[in-house]
Amino acid sequence: MSGNASARLCDMTVHELQGMLARGQVSSREITCDVLARMDEVEASIGAYVTIDREESLRSADAADAAIARARRDGDLGSVGELAGIPVALKDNVCTHGMRTTCCSKMLENFIPPYDATVAERLRAAGAVIVGKTNMDEFAMGSTTETSIFHVTRNPWDPGRVPGGSSGGCAAAVAAGEAAAAIGSDTGGSIRQPASFCGVVGMKPTYGRVSRYGVVAFSSSLDTIGPVTRDVHDCAIMLNAIAGRDERDSTSAPDAVPDYSEYVDRGVRGLRIGMPKEFFGPGMSDGVRSVVERAVRALESAGARIVEVSIPLVEHALAVYYLVATAEASSNMARLDGIRYGYRPEGRADVDVADLMSLSRGQSFGMEVKRRIMLGTFVLSSGNFDSFYGRALRSRRLLKEEVERALTECDCLASPTAPTVAFRFDEEPDDPLAMYLQDIYTTLANLAGVPAISVPCGFANEMPVGLQIMGRMFDEGTLIQVGRAVELGSGIGGRRPVVGGCAK
């Protein structure tokens, strides 16, 4: 993708921009201004952001420029952060000190965190320019970004289609050149599915690889934080910046963090890529199937060995996922009671405290959030616990064992990311259960805790299709390696959506 002379700064990859910044060919202010300009051009039609902080962006761009200039003068470019001067967007459930963090809910519409999430802190430390907060499904509950209280986000490839969700704002922003990269969260596919829909790369790292501290919890045992980028190399760079043990998150892993960019060019010769046969049954659209099968054949031509594997229990993954996720969500949402922060009904000084909480929650949570809270409350209630939550935990353990066993027969698993390409706003299923099927290929990785990446591998009906690669625990390196091979084999390198009237 490099060497495209006509490319605007806002459409370039992080590694391209890094090189130009290091060589002094461009300033962070120029890059940031171009990104802000792109926002001006397309936000009205895309709606990727809920908060844009121009002044602060330019201030940190200037600070990055000063640091880079100093480092160039001293001949010590290693002293500047890896992301110095790179404009990055954060999903609006990542707490940012002093910058509104709403989870796109009326409940937190005016919530300004007094602290940074660890990922935000690490990005700042790496010199990144945080340009704003992106749209999402309310509290990350959804697959279309439509449950946001603010506005819909449109797919940059076709404004009549959804960007996916819940990190739809992240994926749309990166696809549309409104940020060089973004950080999203993935509980059941919320990074990968929108990445697939918007033709960008999205990774859900191993559970524990990236700190969850300061990212508003949806389902604590499933939530992961990861990058959304224009290519696989950028994914490695972003992961480098955010991965690693955090003392503030007890579930973050102490395992050493390799330099993921070293995996980019390793190729796939000799790697065994498993195709879970259960993932290639009915339910997948024909367009997606043929693109994915072609991508797998391309990996084979690149030297990988394709093996068929089986994960028989996978048919239960979605049920297990919705039991675990809603149970934990019902508890995680409980702190949002309007007492210490968050929405409060106005002019109701006469209500008692129980009513105050009920009104705060009742008036500020959307339907999908309420549905999941009720579902989760039900599955945890005494009398139901064993038959629902208890059984889900046991099934989850078995599923994890099956995934781990399958991963002894191969080095990673390949499948579609989503059963379809991005759908039109008007063809979307009304039945919430049908919508939950969007997560059919993605929830397994969250339940098993393993890492997974979605990489654009082709187009069906002029819409991007993502290939999902799932790997072993803490083996993000292999995903980068295979992901890059997918990218190379897809033959779509550099294809960008036409946005804001500027074709590429």
Partner: protein
């Protein structure tokens, strides 16, 4: 018709004790009591979105320490669970607690009531977090139209200690609590101040016909703020239940509120109204593996506990059992006593063998009385162990009499001055010199012919009057034994 005495009272007790760790159980905030409201808070204990708990290892250690001291087994593997309910003092809408696998389980405490030893089983000890403190503005909760929240308390480590229903009277319940508190305080895991709320208790009370094997339906008593209240509440509640059952009624499973001012329990809520806490494993914390080696390390570092200490006092110093128990029960009293004994030994006086018994007598007698009268703790008084040791030395060496010592003590206690100085300044040195005493005795005999005649007439009591006169003359400084001896001698000469 069954009599009231035909019923047996069954009591089980749940105690919550705040851990005396410097920081909170899941964040680094301080735990100082009485700090400015909401000054010891952070995103974690305020339940901010995205904040996550991190276990304070010291809190776990304290819980294990308490478990070991209560003769419990320590879990090899345990975990935390979320207890879900809504209340404004509960920052996260759930309390991080432990549901089915407590850190410590199956221990016991030995108590003694009216000389009868008894073993009360401790079912479990688990670790959880405190809630915030609600303060109702205005005169009382009814007239108050707003409540204020202080999150300084939110997230302080709390251990819950649950006994089996092994107590059979209010006295046993009080003895259990007293012993439990003395153990926890001796361990340093909690300061157990009921008045500051760092120790709270709930009593489960039921009654059954004597000899029955089946417990009656229990009522759970809440809002008990002192040991005295525990005793009264159990007495009231058991009497209420016995009366109810005797009248043909049935006790219902309910939570009752103890009203200390009225001395009554009142219905709060029935079991059916109890919240469904929807416990599930806390996903933000990893399960805990407790290494047996660490547990043994903690065990070997346990301080001397009250029972062992009392036994030592009896064995080493020959203290009466009741004095030994009373001193050993209070960490403050015991460490004071130990210091007095050290000081006595250092002084190396011949009477050192008797010293500890004297020290104990002082501590359970005059010292305790003076503390009670002043409403203060030993640490707040001006009395230092060296001062008491010196006073005991003065009596032991015959410098002053026991009676004089009491008046010297008053001054030492009030002003913290050295007993020797008081004795010198006020000229209180005991007169033991036989010649000096004989002269005084002779003077008194000559000045009191009447009582002397009475004495010879067989009125033994007259001798008391004469001794009194001698004491008056010497302002109490006459050595009582010597005085008696010489007086009898002199009188014998005159018979």
């Amino acid at each position: 018709m069954t009599e009231r005495g035909d019923y047996e009272v069954v009591v089980g007790i749940e105690v919550h004790a705040e851990l005396a760790t410097e920081s909170k159980v899941f964040c680094g905030c301080k735990t100082d009591f009485g700090a400015r409201p909401n000054s010891q808070t952070c995103p974690v204990c305020l339940g901010m979105p995205g904040a996550l708990p991190v276990l304070n290892r010291r809190a776990l250690e304290y819980t294990i320490r308490a478990g070991l001291a209560l003769n419990c087994s320590i879990a090899r593997w345990t975990k935390f669970d979320r207890k879900n309910y809504f209340y404004p003092d509960l920052a996260k809408g759930y309390q991080i607690s432990q549901y089915d696998i407590p850190i410590a389980h199956d221990g016991y405490i030995d108590i003694e009531v009216d000389g009868q030893p008894k073993r009360i089983r401790v079912r479990r000890v688990h670790l959880e977090e405190e809630t915030a403190k609600l303060v109702h503005a205005g005169d009382d909760i009814i007239s108050s139209n707003q409540s204020l929240l202080d999150f300084n308390r939110s997230g302080i480590g709390l251990i819950e200690i649950v006994s089996d229903a092994d107590m059979r009277s209010a006295d046993e319940a009080r003895a259990y609590l007293t012993k439990l508190r003395s153990i926890l305080v001796a361990l340093g895991v909690s300061d157990c101040k009921m008045e500051e709320g760092s120790m709270r208790c709930e009593a489960n009370v039921s009654v059954m016909p004597k000899g029955s094997k089946e417990y009656g339906t229990l009522a759970e008593l809440k809002n008990i703020a002192s040991f005295r209240a525990v005793h009264r509440a159990i007495q009231y509640e058991s009497a209420r239940q016995i009366e109810l059952v005797r009248a043909g009624g049935r006790v219902s499973r309910e939570t009752r509120h103890w009203d200390d001012a009225r001395g009554e329990t009142a219905f709060m809520r029935s079991k059916e109204q109890a919240a469904d806490y929807r416990y599930f494993p806390e996903p933000d914390l990893m399960p805990l593996e407790i290494a047996p080696g660490w547990v043994e390390e903690i065990r070997s570092g346990l301080p001397e506990l009250p029972d062992a200490r009392a036994a030592r006092y009896v064995g080493q110093f020959g203290l009466p059992t009741s004095d030994a128990a009373q001193i050993a029960e209070s960490r403050e009293l015991a460490s004071f006593f130990d210091s007095v004994c050290d000081a006595l030994a250092k002084a190396g006086q011949a009477q050192a063998a008797d010293g500890p018994r004297e020290a104990a007598k002082w501590l359970v007698g005059d010292v305790s009385a003076a503390l009670n009268a002043g409403g203060i703790e030993l640490s707040q008084s001006k009395l230092a162990p060296e001062l008491l040791a010196e006073l005991i030395g003065l009596v032991g060496s015959g410098k002053i009499s026991g009676k004089i010592a009491k008046s010297v003590f008053e001054e030492v206690f009030a002003r913290g001055v050295r007993p020797g100085d008081v004795v010198r300044e006020r000229g209180l040195v005991q007169i033991s010199d036989a010649g000096e005493l004989a002269a005084i005795v002779k003077r008194v005999i000559e000045a009191n012919p009447g009582p002397v005649a009475d004495y010879f007439a067989g009125k033994e009591r007259a001798i008391g009057f004469l001794v009194g006169q001698i004491m008056k003359e010497t302002r109490g400084r006459a050595n009582p034994q010597e005085t008696n001896r010489i007086l009898k001698e002199e009188l014998a000469k005159r018979s």
